[in-house]
């Protein structure tokens, strides 16, 4: 697993590592991928992937309002917020 790949997936996951840990993580990932590569040992060409162990379909809901206004509760427990909005550092588009 090359440095670039590790950097890409780290960024996709919004995780960063210091120099020391970078090496360990790279090694761990390589080993784990090598471990799961065992899956190649078997031919699955016509097999339908199993997305859920349940052989059933979903129930849906009626289009009726059932939620309460939890604005105060949500904003109070946010890491940074004012009376109306969640706040994050200014995003430049």
């Amino acid at each position: 697993m090359d440095k670039e790949t590790v950097a890409t997936i780290s960024y996709l996951s919004r995780l960063a590592f210091d120099k020391q840990n970078e090496e360990k993580i790279t090694r761990d990932l390589e080993n784990i991928i090598k471990f799961v590569d065992q899956l190649d040992s078997i031919d699955t060409s016509d097999i339908e992937p199993l997305k859920s162990p349940l052989e059933k379909t979903a129930k849906t809901r009626e289009d009726k309002i059932s939620a309460q206004n939890r604005k105060e509760q949500f904003l109070k427990n946010a890491p940074d917020a004012n009376d109306d909005y969640f706040l994050v550092p200014r995003v430049v588009e």
Binding site: R14, K51, T57, T60, D63, A67, R70, D84, F86, R90
Partner: protein, 476 residues
């Protein structure tokens, strides 16, 4: 060196369900920030989505109206990326098996019809809103919109110029409002589109690299953005430079497209099937029910207007073309009897005002109650047709009540025969030469007298009454 343009549109239509796609929070527009956010919309640990059946029904209506395949078993996928207004860090969408498959829609450009094929239409949840300019150095996040159901309609890249693109967007707008699946209010963001634009030399087989212009929500801006972008691309290619495949934003103030150049462009969305939602199945019975209860489409309405209200075909077509227009027509017709007068005004003066500003009826200040009243005041001769025009213009600007305007501006038509006679007598006495000339055979001078009475009454005299009185006084 002739270039041709290839355009594909992805239109995001906010479905007019009462609640969100996966939670029971309200979707009402314009509420106080963060007051319509359920536990599920916030993406709290442990929450799970449950699909809103009505959203599926609305999506299916679209599919049926565009003769599309309906996937009765539809599944959801996760699109993973980080953004402050995307609470879960992923959007639930349909990648693999969208609810609506290939269909088509007819567009009309300057009288010519063209069929545009639609690749697919799928359900997905909308994100919240990020507000960048209100807070000192910070961005505020309002999650009211997060979770609102969207129908993303993807066209084949069969659109060849900005005019066609606008026609297509208008056709979609008309269809979704008629189907009652979207309120069509673009100012409120009910419909937005992303435009994919590329150019190529006419004899080239291969398509050019495309740029995507994101989030345009007006007919006017689509046209301008495309025109700018096409010119930009051609200019670059003629210089020998290449087109970068990227996302761009349209700046309506500077009338240009700008590269977004954010790392988002390098995003790998890592789509995979949503494990919290099992497939949703729409039964044959439900499908049939939706088919039967499909709202009246423009063509059917047109025919009905001709039959029920004895309208001209051209008038009926225009009135049936917009749900808001059609509703306004039908509404006003219940309040006042003269359908033909209503039609004439809608097709004439009201349409002219709408086109001038390039807005839709919902965006105007004209309410159906007020409009009906205006027509009634013309019918009952309170005001003349000419005065009515200025009243309409006043309503357009202020939205004030018709009767209030008439009263404040003293526009009540003068109909009293004795008053008109007095004024006419005065004019006749003041203009003996013209009287003689008229009586001598210059019949056209009748108009002069009419004009003078009108001037004297500031246009408020009832034209018919003026004619009768003058005839009586002059022709004896």
């Amino acid at each position: 060196m002739t270039w041709e343009t290839v355009i594909g549109l992805e239109v995001h239509v906010q479905l007019s369900t009462k609640t969100k796609l996966f939670s029971g929070a309200s979707t009402t527009f314009g509420s106080e920030p963060n007051t319509q956010v359920d536990l599920i919309d916030l993406g709290l640990p442990g929450v799970l989505p449950v699909a809103n059946k009505e959203a599926f029904y609305k999506a299916i209506r679209f599919g049926l109206a565009t003769n599309a395949e309906i996937n009765q078993v539809s599944m959801f996928d996760r699109k993973n990326y980080f953004y402050p207004d995307l609470p879960k860090g992923y959007q639930i969408t349909q990648m693999e098996k969208p609810i609506v498959g290939t269909g088509s829609i007819l567009i009309n450009v300057d009288g010519a019809e063209k069929l545009i094929n639609i690749t697919r239409a799928h359900l997905e949840e909308d994100a919240g809103k990020s507000i960048h300019d209100l807070f000192d150095g910070e961005t505020g996040v309002d999650l009211n919109r997060a979770g609102t159901p969207l129908l993303e309609i993807v066209s084949e890249p069969e659109i060849s110029n900005a005019k066609e693109a606008v026609a297509y967007f208008k056709a979609i707008h008309q269809l979704v409002t008629f189907l009652d699946i979207c309120d069509g209010n673009m100012a409120q963001g009910s419909m937005r589109c992303d435009v994919n634009v590329s150019v190529k030399k006419i004899d080239d087989k291969a398509l050019g690299t495309r740029a995507e212009i994101k989030n345009i929500n007006s007919f006017k801006f689509i046209e301008r953005a495309i025109n700018f972008e096409v010119a930009r691309q051609i200019k670059r290619l003629e210089k020998g430079e290449s087109i970068i495949q990227e996302t761009r934003l349209y700046d309506s103030i500077k009338n240009e497209t700008r590269s977004m150049r954010s790392k988002e462009a390098a995003n790998d969305y890592r789509y995979f099937p949503e494990p919290d939602l099992l497939p949703v199945v729409i039964s044959d019975k439900e499908l049939e029910e939706i088919r039967i209860t499909l709202p009246e489409l423009p063509k059917q309405k047109e025919i009905r207007f001709i039959e029920e209200h004895s309208l001209e075909e051209s008038e009926a077509k225009i009135l049936a073309s917009s749900k808001a227009m059609a509703n306004l027509f039908e509404d006003a017709s219940t309040k006042t009897k003269d359908s033909n007068l209503i039609a004439k005004w809608l097709v004439g003066d009201v349409s002219a005002l709408l086109n001038k500003e390039n807005i839709s009826i919902e965006e105007s200040n004209l309410s159906s109650v007020n409009f009906a009243k205006l027509i009634e005041r013309i019918s009952d001769k309170t005001i003349s047709g000419k005065i009515a025009k200025s009243v309409l213009e006043e309503i357009w600007v202020s939205g004030n009540d018709v009767d209030l305007i008439i009263q404040e501006k003293g526009l009540v038509q003068i109909q009293d025969e004795s008053i008109l006679e007095d004024i006419a007598k005065k004019i006749i006495e003041a203009n003996p030469d013209q009287v003689n000339a008229y009586k001598g055979g210059k019949e056209k001078l009748f108009g002069f007298f009419v004009g003078q009475v009108m001037k004297e009454t500031q246009g408020k005299a009832n034209p018919q009454g003026v004619n009768e009185v003058l005839k009586k006084l002059l022709d004896t």
